[in-house]
Amino acid sequence: MKGGRRNLRDQIAGVLFIAVGAAIAWKAQSYRVGPPSDSGPGFFPYYLGLLLAGLGVAITAVASFTQDPEAERFGFRPRTFLGVLLPVVVFGAMLMPMGLVASAFVAVLLSSFASREVTWRGALVNSVTLSVIVLLGFALILKIQIPVWPQFLVQR
């Protein structure tokens, strides 16, 4: 995207606003909209959705006539993206059945894939250290309400 005749970045943003705005306005119609003086639960969402879609149109239009001030590429790297967000999801999935320590261990291990600087050894050291810190800090000192150990070990 080398500074073409239009601003692709803003065009995408504009189209997204149109889509989200339209979806909100559409869904809002399943609630009572009503006139302003007797507005129902659908009133604000309906008009906000339309407003958002309208702003999207304006952004897209402006973007067709302007250039992107940054020539920088989008540079999407799935490995980094997944390496940061996947551990969060896995942590959530593991927390209740497997407890805090195991979840933290796995999450840190997974997150190591996000960076190209981390070696296997480093990742393991990192995981162990953080699991211990989390165990000491949250489970033993603060005693927060969180399952610490895997459920199958704790209950009958």
């Binding site: 309400q145 150990w149 070990l153 704790v154 209950q155 009958r156």
Partner: protein
């Protein structure tokens, strides 16, 4: 760390020893699910009771807060918990008697998911007007509502504060319910600056603003006069026996809990309810309590649910 490992070993040993006999119950800490956030009256009442119950049963009771969706999230979790007596929790009027009439989809079955094992406190409500209002009685309020349209403050749609307003229509007092998210202070401000004409709230809350010289309480929804405000009549006394209502705080267990364990818990909560500090606290908070067996509690809840169903259908209250 050593202690932790020792504990872990103990637990492993327990796993090996097979099912625990009910006679020995409880052998480990009990989880108590509060379907609300930490702090406030729900937390206070369960802590007060559980301190006593824990002493009676000889095991700690650990409180866990599961707030969200007016108690429905935590109550759903309680219904799904293992029925081994090691997870119990609080249930309230909303989740068991009101929401089943409003929501087609609930994360629990109000009749089948739980056995309610002890009543901790029941909270009657009081009808109040601002002191600046010329209204002195329920009859005055009815007369005023025939002359102009009144505004009633409520702490959220379909809550007890709101349903009380709808129930009040039976006495000929009509008005528009105006819903506030938090209740309490916001409603008091609106009562004081004249935006609202009247409201229902717990006797305790109303009495605070009455002592402040802001509210005049017209009547209470309890069967008998409340000792905190002995000069205020009940609705029955002023000719409206149909206006009696209360919300409640109770403890329940998942319904499949073994009978001997249930009996132990019922006895423990009943015994705790007799403790002088609990009796004194209930009185201070303008709560009442009577002992009801699990069967009587189930009956009580069914009756209330039916009453609310009638009100909700008659007034065509919908939230979906």
């Amino acid at each position: 760390m050593k202690k932790m490992l020792a504990g872990l070993l103990c637990l492993c040993a327990l796993v090996a020893s097979g099912p625990i006999h009910a006679q020995e119950y409880p052998t480990r800490p009990i989880r108590y699910l509060v379907p609300w956030g930490a702090g406030g009256i729900t937390d206070t009442i369960s802590r007060l009771y559980n301190e006593r119950v824990s002493a009676i049963l000889g095991q700690p009771i650990v409180h866990e807060y599961r707030p969200g969706a007016a108690g429905r999230i935590g109550t759903g979790e309680l219904g799904r918990a293992a029925p081994d007596g090691y997870t119990i929790g609080m249930v309230n009027a909303g989740q068991l008697t009101i929401h089943p009439n409003l929501y087609a989809r609930l994360p629990y079955d109000p009749d089948r998911s739980f056995v309610v094992l002890g009543m901790m406190g029941m909270s009657p409500m009081a009808l109040a007007v601002p002191v600046s209002s010329p209204v002195r009685s329920v009859a005055d309020l009815r007369a005023l509502s025939q002359r102009r349209s009144l505004n009633f403050g409520t702490a959220g749609i379909a809550g007890p504060h709101h349903l009380a307003v709808e129930l009040l229509r039976k006495t000929g007092v009509t008005g528009v319910p105006v819903h506030y998210r938090g209740g309490g202070g916001e409603i008091m401000a609106a009562m004081t600056n004249g935006a609202l004409d009247a409201n229902f709230d717990t006797v305790y809350q109303q009495n605070i603003f009455r002592t402040d010289g802001r509210y005049r309480i017209l009547a209470v929804t309890s069967r008998e006069r409340m000792p905190q405000i002995p000069d205020v009549p009940t609705f029955a006394e002023v000719g409206h026996p149909e206006i009696n209502l209360e919300t409640f705080y109770a403890t329940a267990a998942p319904s499949a809990v073994p009978a001997p364990i249930l009996a132990k818990l019922v006895a423990a909560y009943a015994q705790a309810a007799q403790a002088p500090e609990i009796v004194a606290w209930l009185r201070e908070m303008a709560l009442t309590n009577v002992h009801l067996s699990p069967a009587e509690l189930a009956q009580y809840i069914r009756e209330w649910r039916e009453r609310w169903r009638v009100v909700i259908e008659e007034q065509n209250i919908r939230v979906q």
